[in-house]
């Protein structure tokens, strides 16, 4: 079950001095940064003493940031993965997709903006790129339904994948969803069937499909776009069969044990790599993708381009069979 994001900024607090959102576990770093900012504004410019103190504090805060992010717990990663300032679909497209041409609609019911997709070029190679868009302010979050797709979203994805398949364009998906939308309309239009068919379509393609879990890979809502030849995952993203809160409320009978559930389910990229669920971990800048979005976006673009390169020139039938074999062997 997905965790429904609230309309307000979901986590942490705003540091007014630096205008950055800090997560709760980043409090010591936030305090240091605030102190640095304060010194800077109150200092007589050119005072050597103050300059020295600022430098010392900055070095300390940088080290603290690096140390913290090297040792993030799965629950802390969950918060980073959901960070409101983390790059979203539109940022990745702006960063590494040239000539993006969005395509709309499922041809049956509507256009679900929780999933965006279209033609584009990645490092010169033409692709069909699609993914969940969460939105980044109240208005756009509502418009994109926080990245929680309805059946029509998955049916649009199916349509686009089949289109790509017919014209020989590799498919690139960027996964970032708390889960498929849980609501009456979604159920009455067969959410389960839409997800099942989308997964099935991923598995039928004779073109390569490369998926990247960029934020939250929430359960069925994710797998519908990530049953791919190659699955990349950002270092601090999470990929999970149920949200840690959902798992905790079922198995521990309280959502307060979400941190334990996150740990137990092994939802982090390095652990999923070990289990063979994902194929490659993409490193994030120190302090997470939201601190240096440009660097993170470029790193992802390069990794996707690499993986597309490895699959280029392989026959369609082989692409499909290799993808199948990978999932058949999963967990063996």
């Amino acid at each position: 079950m997905p965790v429904i994001p609230s309309l307000t900024r979901p986590t942490g607090r705003l540091n007014r001095a630096t205008m950055q959102h800090y997560l709760d576990f980043e409090k010591p770093i936030a305090d240091l940064q605030a102190r640095v900012a304060e010194l800077r504004t109150t200092a007589d410019s050119g005072s050597l003493n103050i300059d020295g103190e600022v430098k010392r504090l900055e070095a300390k805060s940088e080290k603290m940031l690096r140390d913290t992010y090297e040792r993030l717990t799965p629950w802390q990663k969950t918060q980073v993965a959901r960070h409101p300032d983390r790059p979203h679909f539109k940022d990745y497209v702006a960063g590494f997709v040239e000539d993006f041409m969005p395509l709309a609609g499922d041809r049956g019911f509507s256009d679900d903006l929780a999933i965006i997709g279209g033609f584009g070029r990645i490092h010169g190679r033409r692709v069909l790129v699609m993914g969940h868009e969460k939105g980044d302010n109240t208005e756009s979050r509502l418009r994109h339904n926080f990245g929680m797709a309805k059946p029509e979203g998955y049916r649009k994805a199916i349509r686009l994948m089949k289109l790509a398949d017919r014209f020989g364009l590799p498919v690139v998906t960027l996964v970032d969803t708390p889960g498929a939308f849980p609501g009456i309309q979604a159920e009455e239009r067969a959410q389960a069937e839409a997800i099942a068919r989308s997964t099935e379509t991923c598995l039928q393609l004779k073109v390569p499909i490369v998926a990247a879990i960029v934020g939250e890979g929430g359960s069925g809502g994710a797998i519908a776009l990530s049953s791919a030849n190659t699955v990349l995952m950002f270092e601090h993203a999470i990929y999970s069969v149920i949200s840690p809160e959902g798992c905790a409320s079922i198995l521990w009978r309280t959502a307060d044990k979400a941190a334990d559930a996150a740990e137990a389910m092994r939802i982090s990229a390095p652990e999923l790599k070990k289990l063979g669920v994902i194929d490659r971990v993409v490193a994030e800048p120190v302090g997470g993708a939201h601190r240096e979005p440009d660097a993170a976006i470029a790193a992802l673009g390069k990794a996707i381009s690499d993986e597309l390169g490895k699959l280029a020139g392989v026959s369609g039938e082989k692409i499909r069979l290799k993808r199948r074999a990978k999932f058949l062997d999963m967990g063996k």
Partner: protein, 284 residues
């Protein structure tokens, strides 16, 4: 209650509690108490209200295969407890408890036999085994079932019953969704029917994969069939849901099923479907 006590007292060495449990069945829907024997003879359907009770693999095979005879396919060996998972209990202990309670090694069992003279492989998910949850064992058993059907060139008929993915296997349980879908693809390519019978209850990741990919989608009456559970939806949208929401009847109304078939008519219906769909060498 005198006659009841008399009956109970005539059975030696059984505590009052377990006598009540074994002799009587309480219907989950209408709460009527009926004799277990009468209930089971009625295919575990409540004689009072017609509610279809949950049944496991053996009862299902017994009701469907010719001459009450079938060959159970061996349970595959899979990695056990790949995450070394523990919540308040260890996952391995939950597995042990489920095994001793059901006598099965996991929540899905296949058997090969005949339905009115026509070959079929039937796979049955067992809700009594950890809520029928889908993990490595369920995924691998399903693949073996599909392949047994391909080998025998016969349909694969799957009875679903599950709360969803097995959380104790984390991401690996999620990966069973594409894995089992590959097996469905193999059946399609072999030109063999894949028939799904949804039974009470089926939900979550099971619903969102092989349970909705049947060439023919059947359900037993009044089965609870959902992607997202009712409580989660109510908490999200804070609205009262329609009474028949997520029932088999609701799904039929919304185009998700071909038919609702009562348990007493299932064998005939399946036999007819196989006759229509089986490869031509078998078809009558």
């Amino acid at each position: 209650m005198n006659w009841f006590n008399n009956v109970r007292n005539r059975i030696p060495f059984i505590s009052k509690r377990s006598t009540e449990d074994t002799l009587w069945h309480k219907c989950r829907d209408c709460n009527q108490m009926v004799f277990t024997k009468e209930y089971e003879e009625n295919l575990s359907v409540c004689p009072e209200c017609g509610f279809h009770g949950r049944i496991g693999p053996s009862a299902r095979f017994l009701q469907l295969f010719d001459d009450m005879s079938w060959e159970e396919l061996p349970a595959p060996k899979v990695k056990e407890d790949p995450l070394k998972f523990r919540d308040q209990k260890k996952y391995v202990d939950r597995l042990k408890a489920a095994r001793s309670a059901t006598g099965e090694s996991d929540a899905f069992v296949n058997a090969r036999g005949q339905i009115k003279g026509q070959d079929a492989v039937i796979g049955v998910q067992d809700f009594a085994f950890m809520g029928g949850s889908m993990g490595l064992a369920v995924g691998e058993t399903f693949v073996r079932g599909a392949r047994a059907a391909i080998e025998a060139q016969c349909p694969y008929i799957v009875f679903t019953a599950s709360g969803g993915a097995r959380m104790q296997e984390g991401g690996l349980s999620l990966m069973q969704m594409p894995k089992m879908t590959v097996a469905v693809e193999e059946l399609r390519e072999a030109g063999l029917p894949y028939i799904v019978v949804l039974t009470d209850p089926t939900s979550g990741g099971v619903m969102a994969s092989y349970a909705m990919l049947g060439d023919i989608q059947i359900s037993e009456p009044k089965a609870l069939l959902a992607f997202t559970g009712r409580r989660v939806i109510e908490n999200t949208i804070r609205e009262k849901l329609p009474d028949n929401f997520q029932s088999a009847e609701y799904l039929l109304e919304h185009g998700m099923l071909d038919m609702i078939v009562e348990r007493s008519a299932l064998r005939d219906t399946l036999a007819q479907l196989i006759a229509f769909l089986a490869p031509s060498k078998q078809a009558a």
